[in-house]
């Protein structure tokens, strides 16, 4: 007979499986007790890492100490996937109490019945709702419902490589620059022999492309959608004008590095291969190898829209898990978003402050700028955030269509007028389905 003991084999398997299951039984347990020792336990889902993570953990610990009648915990997962997690957990009736959500999801999140309507709440004393920058309030408000508490704000400005400017004998950007100045500087900074570019734009198909383009569109006097958000408006003359600038830089001057991966441009910048990049404060910490300067974006001569920039605000969204937990969650957020904590968080992480009272304080701005050079300009630039992305559920589709148009023009495959018209048609179809 065969040597391998088959019955022994089977027996060993069974024993192993049972052992594993019983181990699991004992090692198991988690997240089922929502009210431990009678006090509400609230959980916050976020995607913080590094400095942000340490800061938030410290905030939670401090809050728990100061408020022994409540217990706050957090679950760190990655923000990109948190939407799928939320959608599933809401369907399964196990949502968190608070979750960090990108501002672009607001209009859709607002449709979830479990999301708490904070409109009443934020008018109460102690919130000082109007102290939050307008862009944040916009991103947290859908229609007349307030669905979130501001969590993060940023904006776009130019970060430039001082050394490359010196070497090319070009004066660095000033607040008085126009896009023509920008274009000519970018051309002078380009040296294809060295693989050096004057400027860079994201060129993947995500919303990021459109997001980087919005300030230019707004400065030319254009808009993404009409006021009722029923029709596309970006194919206007202003739109053609701003897209033509990009075309001139990318196709005619060949001074733009098209970043299809959305990650390479920052690295190239840090390696001294790009003259100017439009990005937000989060990237400043990565530019360790170059001597950089920060400047607000140029304006369009002849347009009275002046300086514009775009913000990417994010929110804390509260989910209804019963009155006790709801109350506890809201109180926690009120504390986190209070001026004192806003100041602390900003200084600890280098993120911009979400409250105007903090951002307008010159001493604070100086302190922040010392921590991460250039942040001061970003803080002041917050005052140039005059418009926001349209708050409509179809915005992702609109942005994708617009992004396609921008990329095809930059690749030299289409003319601005025609590309924008096609994109407007696609956007209108999407908007019609509201």
């Amino acid at each position: 007979m065969i040597k391998t003991s088959s019955t022994g084999f089977r027996r060993r398997f069974t024993v192993a499986v049972v052992a594993a299951l019983s181990l699991t039984l004992q090692g198991c347990g988690g997240g089922d007790d929502t009210v431990a020792d009678g006090k509400p336990e609230i959980v916050v889902w976020n995607g913080y890492t590094d400095a942000q993570g340490k800061n938030f953990t410290a905030l939670i610990d401090e809050y728990n100490q100061q408020h022994p009648d409540v217990h706050v915990t957090q679950l760190v997962s990655d923000t990109d996937h948190v939407l799928q997690k939320i959608l599933t957990s809401v369907r399964g009736n196990t949502p968190p109490d608070i979750a960090y959500m990108y501002g672009s999801w607001s209009t859709n999140i607002a449709k979830m019945p479990k999301v708490v309507d904070l409109t009443e709440e934020v008018t109460q004393s102690g919130w000082d709702w109007n102290d939050f920058y307008p862009a944040l309030r916009d991103a947290a408000t859908v229609g007349d419902k307030v669905i979130g508490v501001p969590a993060l704000v940023d904006n776009l400005a130019i970060v430039y490589n001082k050394k490359l400017f010196d070497e090319a004998h070009v004066a660095p950007p000033t607040p008085e620059w126009t896009w023509d100045d920008f274009r000519s500087a970018s051309a002078k900074l380009t040296d294809s022999g060295k693989g050096q570019y004057g400027f860079t734009m994201p060129a993947d198909t995500s919303e990021t492309v459109a997001w980087h383009y919005l300030p230019m569109l707004w400065e030319a006097g254009g808009d993404v959608l009409n006021p009722d958000m029923t029709k596309a408006a970006f194919d206007s003359e202003a739109g053609v004008r701003s897209l033509t600038t990009l075309q001139q830089m990318a196709v005619t001057d060949k001074s733009v590095y098209l970043d299809t991966t959305n990650t390479t441009a920052v690295k190239l910048m840090n390696s001294g291969k790009i003259g100017m990049i439009t990005t937000g404060p989060w990237d400043l910490a990565t530019f360790t190898d170059i001597d950089y300067g920060v400047q607000i974006m140029p304006t369009y001569g002849g347009s009275d829209a002046g300086h514009q920039t775009v913000a990417g605000p994010d929110n804390w969204v509260v989910f209804d898990n019963g009155d006790k937990r709801k109350r506890a969650a809201v109180d926690f957020l009120k504390w986190v978003a209070a001026p004192e904590q806003v100041r602390r968080t900003s200084l600890a992480t280098g993120d911009l402050p979400i409250r105007k009272s903090v951002g307008d304080d010159p001493a604070f701005v100086r302190q922040l700028d010392e921590k991460v050079s250039g942040t001061g300009v970003f803080v002041e630039n917050l005052n140039n955030v005059k418009k926001s992305k349209p708050a409509t559920a179809q915005y992702p589709e609109v942005a994708t269509a617009l992004g396609q148009a921008i990329v095809s023009v930059m690749l030299g495959r289409a003319e601005p007028g025609a590309a924008l018209k096609d994109a407007a048609a696609v956007a209108n179809t999407a908007l019609d389905q509201k």
Partner: protein, 309 residues
């Protein structure tokens, strides 16, 4: 055709590879005048190509954050930062994560080996009513992407947790195991390999009065060690690296698995590459171990199959 005076059964046995796994085959004639097999010249470049991602991971795991923000990438870190491994390990309760992953993977592995062997054998060798249709239906489960089925699976697992046993429900390791205890992949895979076992062996044993299960355990399985160990290696890999399902099911840090732990290094705007890669490398090590053990069984050894007359 040269008539060979052996009974069909012996002939079938002779088909089994008679080279014990560790005995080297006689070296090729030294036509090229090199002191080692020419195959090394082929295998080394191939291996290098295949290992490029791993090498890149290793290099990145030893860099500082600043060094990773260079393009073109810096290939050799100026000062290997071994401390990244310590930092990564301490950034989150990785010890717990490894333990969780190990428990889930072990149970899933054991279950798959048992259940898929039984079913695979039935599909390969047992004629039963509805077999064809059933096979198609099971295969169908491989044809719908998880992004679509994940919410229904979540709801079903939640039902189990609420109505059968809490340990199987949302936010418990049982929920990670449950949907993976058997897969159509495993059944299909083993069916194909069981079909290659010489049927004469089974027929002969059946004549001797062995039961179906006996055939499976005494003849087919021992001759299928390469297939079983391959399935084991693949199952361990899939289970260990599963990300999306644990992501949506686990909501407590102490129930997280290793892939979820990697999220600690992936922020919304900034990814901490060195730590992430260090964590990835550490995550690979158990699987490396599993494979090294499994691949001993990849080569059929005659010692374990001595079926004679």
């Amino acid at each position: 055709m040269t008539p060979v005076p052996v009974a069909p059964l012996d002939a079938a046995i002779d088909e089994v590879d008679t080279h014990p796994d560790d005995e080297p085959i006689a070296p090729p004639p030294r036509r090229l005048g090199i002191p080692f097999s020419p195959w090394h010249l082929v295998l080394i470049p191939i291996t290098f190509l295949l290992l490029v991602p791993l090498l890149w991971m290793l290099i990145t795991s030893l860099q500082t954050s600043a060094e990773t923000q260079k393009f073109p990438p810096q290939l050799l870190p100026s000062q290997p930062r071994w401390h990244n491994y310590v930092d990564a390990w301490q950034a989150a309760p990785f010890g717990q994560f490894f333990l969780n992953s190990a428990m889930v993977t072990f149970v899933v592995l054991a279950s798959n080996l048992v259940v898929c062997s039984l079913a695979g054998y039935a599909f390969a060798r047992v004629k039963f009513l509805g077999r064809g249709a059933l096979f198609v239906v099971l295969m169908a489960t491989l044809m719908v992407p998880f992004q679509v089925t994940m919410i229904p699976v979540f709801l079903i697992v939640k039902w189990f947790g609420d109505n059968v046993w809490e340990g199987l429900g949302i936010d418990h390791l049982g929920a990670l195991m449950l949907p993976n205890l058997a897969t159509a992949f495993g059944i299909f895979f083993l069916r194909q390999f069981f079909q290659t076992v010489p049927v004469e062996l089974e027929e002969a044993a059946r004549v001797d009065g062995t039961s179906r299960l006996g055939l499976l355990f005494k003849i087919v399985l021992p001759l299928s060690l390469p297939a079983l160990s391959t399935l084991a290696a693949l199952t361990v890999l899939n289970s260990w690296n599963d990300f999306l399902w644990p992501l949506i099911v686990i909501t407590s840090t102490d129930q997280m698995t290793v892939p979820l732990g990697m999220s600690y290094f992936q922020g919304a705007h900034v990814v901490q590459w060195p730590l992430l890669m260090a964590a990835n490398v550490m995550s690979l090590l158990p699987m490396l171990l599993v494979f090294v053990v499994a691949q001993r069984y990849f080569v059929q050894s005659v010692a374990s199959t001595g079926v004679k007359g």
